[in-house]
Amino acid sequence: MTVTDWVFLAIALVTLFSAYRVVTTHKIMHAALWLGLTFVGVAGIFLLLGADFLAAAQVLVYVGAITTIIIFGIMLSSVEDLRGESFDNVWKRLSSRLTSSRRGIWPLLAAVGLAAAMVIVVSRGQWPASPHAPALDTPRLLGEALFTRFVIPFEAASIVLLVALIGAIALALKEERTE
């Protein structure tokens, strides 16, 4: 076990735990904060995997932007939910979920099944044992790839973003006008 391994292990555990809390915490604002922590953890994993640029982008986009707008969204819409549900016992909640008429055990089955299926596939696969030497200059690497090989997807993504932007504004404005 090298230092890197230990660090990875720690980061992975933090990430997974915060992800678990996103799903299970009863206060929605807490969930948003746990989500932010998850994003930071993922950024750490990126760093360990040698994807410097992506790690930076992860922090900027997810932690800086998405978590923030989610928090804004919560504050603008779910005022009642801010306080959370009456019981805080995990097992109580889990059992209440599992016995809920509509959801029952099936979502758990689906989630565990998907994860298990992926683990099975991964464990059976033939994987390269050692990683390649990490690229030293990932921003350059990605930049060149984006503007050469992937220029058309890049432009398409730009348009997707533009449309999303306009769509979001339009959706938000619509109600204002009618009022």
């Binding site: 509509r102 959801r103 099936w106 979502p107 089955l109 689906a110 989630a111 099944g113 998907l114 299926a117 992926m118 099975i120 596939v121 059976r124």
Partner: protein, 641 residues
């Protein structure tokens, strides 16, 4: 010039189009356009004629349609026969056009008259130029149509409309035969072209009864068109049309088309002696019996009509006995002097406003030009030397004599005598004696120049035309128009004697009866009353046809009607009743079984839908859950398998 022959019918056709579409925009409803067009055609025809005299022959055609390996070709040909006919048709047509300027002046349908007259001229010229039977038949029907339209010019009068219909339907009887004949010819010769047909016959590939049958069937068309016995009944009635029309169509051109048809397809006829005999005998019978009817007619135009029928019979005899040139020559001379007689009679009618000769009399002083031209025309018809009729009739008699057809010869001699008698009778009744109708006599006047000038021209031609085929010109016409090879009959004193005797007897008797009254008309009639009644009633042909065809048709229709009512209607009603029953049963089956099945299926789906719609909860998460579970199952199957 002969290459431009196709222009000759085009000019009157253009005039027809112009007059009918835009006639009212010019002065006189375009009558002068018609006159000018036909005049131009006349000049062209003369130029073509001169060219043909110099030996020019034109034949041009193009492929029109293809049937399997056979092609239909349309085209025109110019040979001596065509050239002659072109000149005759355009000349008479032109003179009639001019004559009509005066005769039809102020008519209610002046424009229509000139339009149809132009169309008729164009069609007749096309018929003459056609180089194949099919094309000829098309024009044949066109002139029939024009004849119908012109006879019915004053269709307000009930009789006029019926006369037009009668003419159309009667000729149609012959046309059916002609059409069958054309098919027969095509079946054997594989062509409609006259020269191709002639080749096939000349090569001896086609002999036997079918050939004779084809010829006789073609002759049926000629019988209808040329008003030969027994389809002659329409021509006298056709006199209901304007007299100018009678002159053009029912004396000179249309009725001559039948003769022309026989002449044009003479190759077919000459190869079938039975057909030639038929032509000759039909012609002979027609010549005699029509002349006999003309003896007693009181209507001046009816006299001329029966005279025309009779003279056409003469032509048929000429062709039938092998005298091709004689028949055609008589056609030409007859066209001239009969048109002259008709136009002159038109002038008389114009002057006294009646057609009944018993209401005329003494008109020679009032209408000198008309009288003198009429006199020349009637003399030509009677066959008085040296007028046109003498030469052509003499020629026919010679041909008959040469062919040793004794019976036919005597028939023609009697017919010629009768001809001389009835035309002299008409002349005396009309122009001599005391005026029998004072009021009409006072009213009578000479016709305008547009009418008299054509009369004078025709009269001059009636005098000189005969010399074209006389010893004085070396039988020039016989050397120009002939079939196979030129044939000049040798003059025979026997024939000359009887020809002369016939007109001397005929004219003499008529003068004795109607001129000097030495023989009492009354006495003759009383002594020969049955004959007189028979003639007066035109041998009861109209009555016979009425009885056989009209009443027969009505009776047949009655029988068919009864059959229809009782048998056919019975079957139909039975079928209807059965169908109604059946449909009622089917309706019940439909309602109970088919509708039941359809409704049952619909109910099944409705029930299924009611169950299945529970799955559509409307909750997005349910849908996504189903999605993911499916993926899990799929992955597990994939992973295990």
């Amino acid at each position: 010039m002969a290459e431009l022959a196709w222009l000759i019918p085009i000019l009157p056709l253009a005039s027809f189009v112009f007059i009918s579409l835009a006639g009212q925009t010019v002065k006189g409803d375009g009558d002068r356009v018609g006159v000018a067009a036909v005049g131009a055609s006349l000049i062209l025809s003369i130029l073509v004629f001169v060219d043909v005299l110099d030996g020019a022959r034109v034949s041009a055609d193009f492929a029109w349609a293809f049937f399997g390996g056979t092609q239909l070709r349309l085209g025109y040909q110019v040979d001596p026969l065509t050239a002659t006919m072109l000149v005759v048709v355009t000349l008479i047509s032109f003179l009639v056009h001019v004559y009509s300027l005066g005769y039809m002046h102020g008519d209610v349908r002046y424009k229509r008259y000139y339009a149809i007259l132009s169309l008729f001229t164009a069609s007749m010229l096309g018929l003459v130029l056609a180089d194949n039977l099919l094309f000829l038949f098309a024009f044949w029907e066109l002139i029939g149509l024009c004849s119908f339209l012109l006879i019915g010019h004053w269709y307000e009068k009930r009789d006029v409309g019926f006369a037009a219909l009668k003419a159309f339907l009667t000729t149609r009887v012959g046309d059916i035969g002609m059409l069958v004949g054309i098919m027969l010819v095509f079946f054997h010769a594989r062509s409609f072209q006259f020269d191709a047909i002639a080749e096939v016959i000349a090569s001896g590939q086609w002999v036997g009864p079918a050939l004779a049958a084809a010829a006789v069937l073609l002759f049926a068309g000629a019988v209808g068109k040329s008003a030969q016995f027994p389809l002659h009944v329409w021509l006298p009635d056709a006199m209901a049309g304007p007299t100018s029309v009678s002159a053009l169509i029912h004396a000179a051109t249309l009725v001559a088309a039948g003769v022309y048809l026989v002449a044009r397809s003479y190759a077919v006829f000459s190869a079938a002696p039975e057909a030639l005999a038929t032509v000759a005998w039909v012609g002979g019978i027609t010549a005699l019996f029509a002349a006999s009817i003309a003896l007693v007619m009181e209507d001046i135009k009816k006299v001329l009509a029966y005279s025309t029928v009779s003279q056409l019979g003469f032509m048929m005899v000429g062709l039938g006995v092998g005298g091709f040139t004689a028949g055609v020559f008589h056609l030409v001379t007859h066209a001239v002097f009969k048109a002259l007689l008709f136009l002159a009679s038109g002038s008389v009618i114009h002057g006294v406003d009646t057609q009944n000769m018993h209401e005329m009399g003494g008109l020679r002083k009032k209408m000198p030009v008309t009288f003198w031209t009429w006199a020349i025309g009637s003399a030509a018809l009677a066959g008085i030397y040296p007028l046109a009729g003498f030469w052509s009739k003499d020629e026919i008699l010679l041909s008959v004599y040469e062919g040793q057809h004794t019976a036919l010869f005597w028939i023609l001699v009697i017919a010629a005598t009768l001809t001389a008698f009835y035309i002299t009778r008409a002349t005396l009744l009309t122009f001599f004696g005391e005026p029998r109708d004072r009021r009409r006599y006072e009213h009578a006047h000479e016709s305008p120049a547009t009418m008299t000038v054509p009369l004078v021209i025709l009269a001059a031609l009636a005098v000189v035309l005969g010399f074209a085929n006389s010893p004085y010109s070396g039988y020039w016409f016989a050397r120009f128009v002939y079939f196979d090879h030129p044939h000049v009959p040798e003059a025979a004193g026997f024939v000359l004697f009887w020809a002369t005797a016939s007109w001397v007897v005929g004219v003499g008797l008529a003068v004795l009866v109607y001129g000097f009254g030495l023989i009492s008309r009354r006495a003759v009639i009383d002594n020969l009353r049955p004959v007189w009644v028979l003639l007066k009633n035109k041998y009861y042909f109209d009555e016979l046809y009425y009885l056989v065809f009209v009443r027969g048709t009505v009776a047949l229709a009655r029988i068919v009607g009864w059959f229809d009512r009782v048998v056919v209607d019975g079957v139909v009603n039975l079928a209807g009743y059965g169908t109604a029953k059946l449909s009622r049963a089917t309706g019940e089956f439909d309602r109970d079984v088919i509708d039941g099945a359809v409704n049952g299926i619909a109910a099944l789906f409705k029930a299924g839908g009611a169950v299945l719609r529970r799955l559509q909860t409307g909750y997005v998460q349910s849908y996504v859950l189903a999605l993911f579970l499916t993926v899990v199952v799929g992955l597990l199957v994939f992973a295990i398998g």
